[in-house]
């Protein structure tokens, strides 16, 4: 029992932590690619400086995303060996393909990009960062394909002889309807994250009136990316809500703490009081909104937790099929609230900076700077919601989470691992944040002496050479 708790805690902590860095990697690689493309096309110096500046921050972040990602691949086998045996025939393939298609692409071309400023022609060097950006998106697709199978298993059959789920249709796994909604939802969320990140850092410099030529375009890019991203998040989130209602109605019911089936169902903005469905509570409700989110119609029927629990007991045998409701309810709201607030800040920012204006008001900049926490909050609670509200299942309808742990790994061992990772990640968070703040406050690099233009013809393999354009 303890082993289950520790294994779940570790998975939750390491995954949420990993996903603090992933959205920045995905979004910022694209932003850097865009800025470098702008430099390549216009030749304007401030775009080059912006590319270098944001590239540096991107790399500080990337390193953390990379190393915490290794843990993810290992811990399925370490803590969840029964799960791995049961779904490996389906679940392993996207992971392997992710490594082969995405990780190689990202890591190799990032190495070329970091060290290749004076080794590659401008065009090839630019291509490298685009390939990195494409790699990050590919990676997201395959890992979300794996996760979507857990939310809505498709393309498999249960083989009672082997006691495992077996792949029957890989195309179905890769076009899982949950995946088709959750993939854009995640990627647009990453744009929001990178957008807010650009906005916040640029705001810090603009507040002090520094490096206007670099940070004014960066700010605009950030604000636009945030709003475009949020638009995408909204549309895909709406779609995801309906798919979720169809594939995991319990999750939608838990998101509203809706105990009894309702038609039409209202959506509560918040609740004061208990969420266990026993006592009346104080709520601000929007009539029909939950029906709309779930079904697309304002008077659609939304199934309640109690009815679904009874239905699942019929279907899957005796048991409690309710997730922990407060986490689902508040996670859902915090996700939406934080994301919307970020978009609101961006909208205001776009208005305040229209036509090249720069607000004089210090607290306006302060809000822009501190809004940087919002997308991270939204992402974290989004994942906590989507994973916790799937419980008690690890693969919905197919395998319960408690059946997935490694049966012969002692609880003390898992606890050791949990403590080690928590401590290590905590220490690294301090280091990373410190570096990020330090480099975010630096001025963008000036043109180095001797120029940075590509010199692909090089001077052969001569040992005596000018210093590297970049070195660790």
């Amino acid at each position: 029992m303890d082993e289950l708790l520790f294994a779940r805690l570790q998975f939750g902590i390491t995954t949420v932590y990993h996903f603090l860095f992933v959205p920045v990697t995905i979004g910022l690689s694209l932003a850097v690619a865009i800025l470098q493309t702008a430099w390549a096309r216009t030749g304007r110096e401030h775009y080059r400086r912006a590319t270098k500046f944001w590239g540096k921050l991107f790399l500080i972040n990337f390193a953390m995303g990379l190393v915490t990602g290794i843990v993810q691949e290992f811990q399925f086998g370490m803590n969840w060996s029964s799960y791995s045996r049961f779904v490996g025939d389906i679940f392993g393939a996207p992971l392997a393909i992710e490594a082969l298609l995405a990780f190689f692409l990202e890591s190799t071309f990032l190495g070329l990009w970091i060290f290749g400023w004076d080794r590659l022609s401008r065009g090839v060097h630019l291509l490298c960062i685009w390939l990195v950006a494409i790699g990050t998106v590919l990676s997201a697709y395959f890992i979300l394909a794996a996760n979507s199978f857990m939310q809505n298993p498709v393309g498999y059959r249960y083989n009672p002889e082997a006691g495992r789920a077996e792949l029957t249709d890989f195309g179905a796994v890769l076009t899982n309807k949950v995946l088709l909604a959750t993939f854009p939802h995640t990627i647009f969320g990453c744009w929001v994250t990178a957008g807010v990140f650009l906005t916040a850092v640029a705001a810090w410099h603009l507040k002090r009136g520094r490096n206007l030529d670099v940070f004014r375009p960066s700010l605009r890019l950030g604000l636009v990316a945030t709003l475009v991203g949020f638009g995408g998040v909204l549309v895909s989130g709406d779609l995801l809500g309906k798919v979720m209602t169809e594939t995991q109605p319990m999750k939608m019911a838990a998101a509203e703490a809706l105990y009894e089936t309702q038609q039409p169902a209202s959506f509560s903005l918040f609740t004061i009081g208990t969420l266990d469905g026993t006592r009346p509570v104080t709520q601000i409700e929007i009539p029909g909104l939950l029906s709309f989110l779930a079904t697309g119609s304002f008077d659609g029927e939304v199934q309640g937790i109690n009815d679904l629990n009874a239905e699942y007991q019929q279907k899957y045998g005796p048991g409690d099929y309710r997730p922990y409701i407060p986490i689902a309810y508040w996670g859902f709201r915090i996700m939406i609230g934080a994301g919307s607030l970020a978009a609101l800040v961006a909208l205001a920012g776009l208005w305040l900076t229209r036509g090249g204006r720069l607000p004089k008001n210090r607290w306006v900049w302060g809000i822009a700077i501190w809004s940087v926490v919002l997308p991270f909050v939204a992402h974290s609670f989004g994942w906590i919601f989507t994973e916790m509200a799937r419980q008690p299942w690890v693969v919905f309808g197919l395998m319960e989470t408690r059946a997935g742990v490694s049966p012969t790994v002692p609880a003390g061992t898992v606890l050791t691992s949990l403590i080690v990772f928590t401590a290590l990640y905590g220490a690294l968070a301090v280091v990373e944040l410190g570096l990020m703040l330090r480099w975010a406050r630096k001025d963008p690099p000036e043109e180095p002496a001797g120029g940075s233009s590509g010199d692909p013809s090089g001077s052969g393999d001569s040992d005596e050479d000018k210093p590297l354009a970049f070195a660790y």
């Binding site: 990780f103 190799t108 060290f115 012969t408 001569s462 005596e464 000018k466 210093p467 660790y472």
Partner: protein
Amino acid sequence: MELHDLWFVAIATLWVGFFFLEGFDYGVGILTRALARDDRERRVLINTIGPVWDGNEVWLLTAGGATFAAFPEWYATLFSGFYLPLLLILVALILRGVAFEYRGKRDSERWRGGWDLCIFFGSLVPAFLWGVAFANIVRGVKLDERHEYVGTFWDLLTIYSLIGGVTTLLLFLYHGAVFTALKTAGDVRERAIRLAGQVGVATIVAAAVFLIWTQTQHGSAATAVTGIVAAAALVASYLLNRTGGRDGWTFGLSGGALAFAAITLFVALYPDVMPSTVSAANSLTVENAAATPKTLGIMTWVAVIFLPVVLIYQGWTYWVFRKRIGLQSIPAH
């Protein structure tokens, strides 16, 4: 040859690639303390692998992912069974990876010193533990009838597995030294050649003991051949390093030794993927550990199409960064 046999070969190939490539990364990481005398020399070493270490590490991630996909039972048993060694490896890889990126980001000796420790131990620990792990895989571990590991952490530390660990550690260190000789210029290079000569003898001894032990306990005619090729490549590399002037060959032969050592282990293992010391009936084999032919078929197509592409662009990276690095190549912090 059935698909699961092919995938056994594929997994072995990924590990061979990992040993060959990440092997010198680990070696260079250890050399940052064993060879470099100051920060500038350390940076020479780190920058020989700077553009490529991350891509090299992906061979490990791909081997892990491919094992999960092609042999789910093997993946589950291996990763849950070798829990604590893998935990140590993970911590090492995390610190090492971050260290490369972060050590130059602050101009402080204490800061760099801390990360240098991470690079050193982050390279040393996995270099040793991979050998321990592979020796245990070949030797077999306590697996029950569900294929679950029922031994303890201490059961993994046998004389044989410790020799395995020392062997990979020395092989990687030697490989890193001859890589350094190939990729650097000046005094660092001279000392790397000398160090390779000193480490080389110990490496040959350790590898010989480990391979002979493997041969007597788990060997076949095929492993005798691959083992001899590995040993011959290592000795040839050592001799070439002594005569000097053929850095490319010295390095290639060292890589060949690593590759054939790994191949020897996989050939010794086949058709098991993880033998059980409790009962042969509990052993994991290419058959009972494998995914379905359906999954293996899909994976085969993916690998056939994309692995060559990866090899091409990764190979190209080495071409782009082919220049030697000397003290004068290192810009100021």
